[in-house]
């Protein structure tokens, strides 16, 4: 690769990976390992399992980079989707050992604005998203996080929280719309 790694766009990197460029894979890894490992760890709560899944996810990136289609979403979305699905598959495979719901909910209630050490690792985008999440009404935030980190369907979430299905749907929609607003502002501003 000719350009500095930081100047190469994610889309370009994925194109290079699709052509078998290992160095491009390394650059993607270095760029996204913290957020992807954080995500997987948040789903699995076990470092060893999480490292396993991170490895699987990146090998999938290596094998399937040719499937990435930038007209169907951002590269970040593609990477995060792979990591999240792999982690949720593993979580379901682990079955009963992974019943840590209360812990997840407690974690989400402790606030997503985080501590100073974690903030140091956060990207600018991460900070904006965490800020936006912190501003959501608690119930909306909780519903979104349950769907995202536990992979629950709408009815499972309704059953879990003891709320009517309609309420759950409305919360998910309002919460996600608010986040979208953030993304739009960010793409205009940054």
């Amino acid at each position: 690769m000719q350009a500095q790694p930081s100047e190469v766009s994610d889309n370009e990197l994925l194109r290079l990976v699709a052509h078998g460029d290992e160095q491009a894979l390394a650059v993607i890894y270095d760029r996204y390992r913290l957020i992807l490992f954080g995500l997987i760890l948040r789903i699995l709560h076990d470092r060893q399992e999480a490292e396993d899944v991170l490895q699987e996810a990146f090998l999938q990136v290596w094998r399937r980079a040719g499937d990435f289609d930038e007209s169907r979403g951002r590269a970040f979305t593609w990477l995060v989707t792979i990591a999240r699905s792999r982690a949720l598959d593993r979580l379901r495979g682990l079955g009963s050992r992974a019943k840590h719901t209360d812990e997840v909910v407690a974690h989400s209630l402790r606030g997503e604005t985080g501590d100073a050490a974690a903030d140091a690792l956060q990207s600018e985008q991460g900070r904006i998203v965490r800020q936006a999440l912190a501003e959501l009404p608690e119930e909306q935030r909780r519903t979104l996080l349950l769907a995202y980190f536990e992979g629950l369907t709408q009815s499972e979430i309704a059953a879990r929280l003891g709320d009517p299905l309609g309420t759950v749907k409305t919360r998910m929609r309002s919460g996600l719309m608010k986040l979208r607003e953030v993304l739009r502002q960010e793409s205009r501003g940054l």
Partner: protein
């Protein structure tokens, strides 16, 4: 279903929270509706931002090595469409000699295509079944690990119950210090034989390379080391130990954090202690 009804489905779809039947319905609609497709892309991009709600974490450096080594060694047999056709190019059938009737050329081409499709299907099936096999064997390993852990735990519990039922045992309650306010423990010992057992609750998980160590402190003397132990996620552990003869008369019991190999005398912070007698 009206077009606007799909809006709500799109949100749920972006979060993968749709029931299977709604998901099918929506995906059929997306095939036909470019407007909803655009909306779907944007909502999925938005949902993926939720990844930022997790705390970024650093995997061990060797994970990077493993990934790059595997990529290099071709563990990822590449499946990108572009690459496949590029590799196939050299094998494209050359123009057949003129002597071949057209129909034969067509048949040969068809047979070749069928062969390629067959090979691709077999290969994919093979990859899938290998993945399935490795997933199953992983599951089996996990289950057998769990089973042996459960058995070991059961044996320990039986031993503990038998010990607790033996006559003449004494009980000492330990309270958490400033370092571990919510921790507590019960130390039970048999004054005659010195057999002892410590049950802890609420201790923080020891950092890597560290473990908790038990101390028996006879009145007016220096602490004598007991066993080291680690705790589970709930801070619980049950440790059998042997109380030295010198320490069987109203000893003070304490627990400190020490290097994993244990220390001859306490060096780390005190986590639990019985009231000094």
């Amino acid at each position: 279903m009206e077009h606007k009804d799909y809006e709500e489905l799109l949100t749920l779809h972006a979060l993968d929270a749709l029931q299977a039947s709604d998901k099918r319905k929506l995906e059929e609609h997306l095939e036909r509706c470019p407007e909803c497709r655009t909306e779907s892309v944007e909502l999925r991009d938005t949902a993926s931002l939720l990844a930022h709600a997790s705390t970024p974490a650093e995997p061990r450096a060797e994970v990077r090595e493993r990934i790059l080594n595997q990529a290099r060694s071709g563990a990822g047999q590449r499946q990108s469409a572009g690459e496949t056709s590029a590799k196939m190019a050299p094998f494209r059938p050359r123009a057949a000699p003129r002597a071949w009737p057209n129909i034969m050329r067509l048949a040969a081409a068809l047979a070749f295509v069928a062969l390629l499709v067959g090979v691709a299907v077999l290969w994919q099936g093979n990859v899938r079944s290998r993945q399935e096999l490795s997933r199953l064997s992983q599951q089996l390993n996990q289950q057998s690990d769990e089973l042996s852990r459960d058995r070991a735990a059961l044996a320990r519990q039986r031993e503990a119950i038998a010990f607790l039922n033996s006559p003449g045992i004494k009980i000492v309650e330990l309270a958490g210090t400033q370092t571990a306010k919510t921790a507590r423990a019960t130390f039970v010992y048999d004054q005659a034989t010195g057999r002892a057992m410590l049950m802890t609750d609420g201790l923080p998980v020891a950092p890597p390379g560290m473990a908790y160590e038990v101390w028996f402190i006879p009145r007016g003397q220096s602490p004598m080391p007991g066993k080291t132990f680690t705790v589970d996620a709930a801070g619980q552990a049950t440790t059998m130990d042997q109380l030295p003869a010198e320490a069987r008369e109203n000893p003070t019991i304490a627990v400190t954090l020490e290097p994993k190999s244990g220390s001859p005398s306490p060096t780390g912070a005190i986590y639990l202690s019985s009231p000094t007698s």
